[in-house]
């Protein structure tokens, strides 16, 4: 098979983060601080990515501002010809650092929103004063003139704040908002009993987004990730496994998606050991679910096989126990009915938030 080059790369610079959101998409096994790639290795990876065909670089984490060399990495990425997008909570960014990022050539900022008021945002983020600080950061971003996307992560506890989140995006001068209903991977899987939206909430969000899209046409672009347990067809995860994007973990592991480590039989190459091009073209984890040869029924003979590529491999693994199965979100999956029942049960359950814990700083001393 001829492998097309990737368009986008998510660089998880670190798993460190001042926030501890209970839906964090980082793996439950976080990368230790002393295993993070150093500055020079990251720079090499950025150049290799550009040579491979990557156009869009998403600098993420954890909180990427936790890396002191963020400005240097942005500069290196621009020199390599990449479009640089910073995905941040804003915590850890000062006005001075934002100006340095501007000087380094940062193209765009995506600012996360945990809630539309301090009570909600600080409870979900697990960080007192976070909302107030984020609003200051939003002002600085606007004053410098960075193009801004607001990324509102929504779930049962804060879906009622969606209209206000859209208003806030307009007030901040954002060109775009991502209305992202929590996807249940990583830490979010532990929190389904408290975060799962009800079916009624999911349908109401559909209506709010449709109305706002029409009303704000030409002012605010709304990208919408619906509540997928309550959908009939699965998401086209990663645009198709190994077709569009790749993810570099803080320790240099190269993943087809950020949750791929939850598929236990996959093994992942590391940029410390193998050139990025070689990993993309021939790495076992990328080959595993590329194209359609790996598919089972009902995907194999389905006319949507190349529309959604069977949905999310990690979700098939997590729910059905087989990463090559049809994503159970699909109405054609034999497990869809069970998923619907499970979603309903989660959406009616009550539970406390289980917060993400911080990554270890170094190896724990042996007993």
């Amino acid at each position: 098979m001829t492998v097309r080059p990737p368009i986008a790369m998510l660089a998880e610079l670190t798993h460190r983060c001042p926030l501890s959101c209970p839906y964090c998409s980082n793996p439950v096994e976080l990368t230790r601080v002393d295993r993070e790639l150093d500055t020079d290795t990251w720079k090499s990876v950025l150049r290799q990515a550009a040579d491979l065909g990557v156009l869009q670089l998403h600098l993420s984490g954890g909180e990427p501002a936790s890396r002191r060399d963020l400005e240097e990495l942005v500069s290196a990425a621009r020199d390599a010809g990449l479009y640089t997008n910073l995905i941040t909570s804003g915590i850890g960014l000062s006005e001075r650092r934002l100006k340095a990022l501007d000087d380094a050539g940062l193209d765009h900022i995506q600012l996360s929103l945990q809630g539309t008021n301090p009570e909600m945002a600080d409870e979900i983020g697990g960080y007192a004063g976070g909302f107030k600080r984020k609003m200051m950061v939003a002002d600085w971003i606007g004053a410098i003139g960075f193009p801004l996307t607001l990324n509102a992560v929504l779930h049962r506890r804060n879906l009622h704040q969606l209209p206000r989140a859209i208003e806030m995006a307009v007030e901040m001068g954002a060109r775009r908002i991502e209305v992202a209903t929590v996807q249940f991977h990583g830490w979010a899987l532990k929190n389904r009993d408290t975060l799962m939206p009800t079916r009624a909430q999911a349908r109401e969000a559909d209506t709010i987004v449709a109305e706002a899209r029409a009303r704000l046409k030409g002012t605010l672009v709304i990208d919408y990730v619906p509540a997928d347990y309550h959908s009939d067809y699965p998401k086209r995860c990663m645009g198709g496994w190994g077709t569009t994007g790749l993810n570099i973990a803080p320790d240099g592991k190269v993943l087809p998606c950020h949750a791929a480590e939850t598929i236990p039989h996959l093994s992942f190459d590391n940029v410390r050991d193998r050139p990025l091009r070689d990993i993309w073209d021939h790495g076992a984890a990328f080959d595993a679910y590329r194209g359609t040869d790996w598919m089972q029924e009902p995907c194999r003979s389905c006319d949507r096989a190349k529309v959604d590529f069977g949905g999310c491999r990690c979700q098939a693994m997590a729910i059905v126990g087989d990463a090559a199965a049809t994503d159970p979100v699909c109405i054609k999956s034999p497990h869809h009915g069970a998923l619907e029942a499970r979603a309903a049960a989660h959406s009616e359950a009550e539970a406390d938030l289980i917060y993400r814990s911080p990554p270890l700083r170094s190896v724990e001393p042996a007993e």
């Binding site: 080059p5 368009i7 986008a8 040579d51 491979l52 065909g53 156009l55 869009q56 998403h58 010809g81 479009y83 997008n85 193209d107 765009h108 995506q110 003139g145 960075f146 193009p147 996307t149 060109r175 775009r176 046409k217 030409g218 002012t219 605010l220 672009v221």
Partner: protein, 91 residues
Amino acid sequence: MEGGAIPYLPRGVRLHHDRVREAWVLLAPERAIMLDAVGHAILSEIDGERSFSEITEALAVTYNAPAEDIAKDSAGFLGALRERRFLEVRS
């Protein structure tokens, strides 16, 4: 688009030559739009100074095509970019 309107690419949107795919792309926040020869020709004329009618008249001369046809095609293409906030206009 009005003939006198002056289109420009806002901060964070830029033309980029993709040396791997040997093609021109428009890079924008979290998007990369592959351009065909026509799209590239139109966007290359946008300098933030000339009006839409000046641009389409220049294209008509370069490509030896009726100015009305060029204006119609360009307005559709640029209008779609404007809706996605990849293009701004000042009067």
